[in-house]
Point group: none
Chain length 217, copies 2
DNA sequence: ATTTCAATAAGGATTTTACCTATTTTTTTA
DNA sequence: TAAAAAAATAGGTAAAATCCTTATTGAAAT
């Protein structure tokens, strides 16, 4: 609760100076993030890293760069600095590109049109949970992401039951009755699944359950 | 077409011994159904199921029983044997009761005054199509269950758009924005569809839309 | 010209969902 | 068996969904 949280060092790798520069200002305004430097490509990054005494905790890595692009840089980072969390930055949500970055070890990705307010949340989340993805993405992609990262979402027994019942027209209260649990426990399952599956409301649960064949209709 | 069709195992749960017993005889005379046993309530059913080597394919479940009634038994079945098709049995066509059973996962319902000849058809249909309902029911209910008769409800253009958007994670307010209509108009569509389709909440909309292929996932 | 109907939208109340945080209980495991 | 982790439960609040009724408007029908 108090003021002195850990401060995470961050590096921006992006060839658009204006973007990188303004982003630096924004991020430095976040209380627990500090921009160490920004680089215009992978080579530039390596050089600047040498003359730094700090290793960054997290890197915002643009994918489209002319010299040493996002993929190459990602490979270098995975090999040489596997503990640095990398968030891929992309203009659009091209599935192939994003999946490739994740296979290369990125912890997540951000679309460049993310709202400044949300960037702070995104950064905090990636440090806290280890991954983050812009939510402007299809469920299909999210599922693909989970597979790409080898993080198959496993449902606990009660979560599965809850999910199945959530695909009926029962209210949560009725579901709680059926499962002989407190409505608050059910609410806990709901919250947990919403977070894990990156969904927004009960419709998302239904869609997820159907896509993954946890229920049939 | 030929003689050796699959034989479905059936269980009758009803507290009226005479009824259950004679029903058993009738059903055993159907070539592709075999009564495993009958039970006088949900508890009795659970006990008898334990000493059975077969899991039933379909259960005829009376709603009005003194000990563990139809709802409670339905809840137990939905939770523990979701693959068993349940046909609710009722004396009358009390809408609320029937709809509640359907919401709890019953595949359909039969009125007890169904003609013996039709019971055979009903059972065959529920195994084949996955659902069945007695046709001696109120108009409202018939509308709700229109698909049993292959009568697809026609949607007006805006209703269809609304329905499709309701299958996303948008809020109704967001849907209203997208459709450039007042949230109150959207609420009107919602109400109209809920009444016409006899559904209870947004999950019902999603299920309906998917079943009738108004949306794809 | 009046009636009818469909589409739109309002007010206003209640219930259900959703979110955040914290505590207790149970289970696991070191 | 004590400590840690996971599961269940709870309180409080905000937002969204649901329900019921009524009103306006313009087009279509008789």
């Amino acid at each position: 609760m108090s003021g002195n949280q850990k401060i995470y060092n961050l590096v921006i790798v992006d060839d658009h100076l204006l973007f990188a520069g303004s982003l630096e200002g924004l991020i430095n305004s976040f209380p627990n993030f500090k921009v160490l430097f920004h680089a215009k490509n992978g080579v530039d990054f390596q050089n600047k890293l040498k003359i730094q005494k700090h290793i960054p905790d997290v890197i915002l890595l643009d994918i489209n760069m002319p010299v040493m692009n996002g993929f190459e840089t990602m490979q270098y980072l995975t090999l040489n600095h596997p503990s640095i969390k990398v968030l891929a930055l992309s203009m659009d949500d091209d599935e192939k590109v994003i999946l490739k970055m994740l296979r290369f070890g990125a912890k997540g990705y951000l679309l460049k049109d993310i709202h400044p307010d949300n960037l702070k949340l995104a950064l905090e989340e990636v440090m806290l949970k280890g991954y983050f993805h812009s939510d402007k993405v299809s469920t299909t992609l999210l599922n693909a992401l989970n597979e790409a990262k080898g993080e198959k979402i496993k449902l606990k027994e009660n979560e599965l039951k809850f999910l199945q019942l959530a695909c009926t027209e029962m209210t949560y209260k009725e579901i709680a009755d059926v499962m002989s649990l407190s409505p608050k426990t059910i609410d806990g399952y709901r919250q947990e699944l919403f977070n894990r599956l990156n969904i927004k409301n009960r419709v998302g649960l239904v869609i997820y359950a159907l896509k993954n064949e946890f229920v049939k209709i």
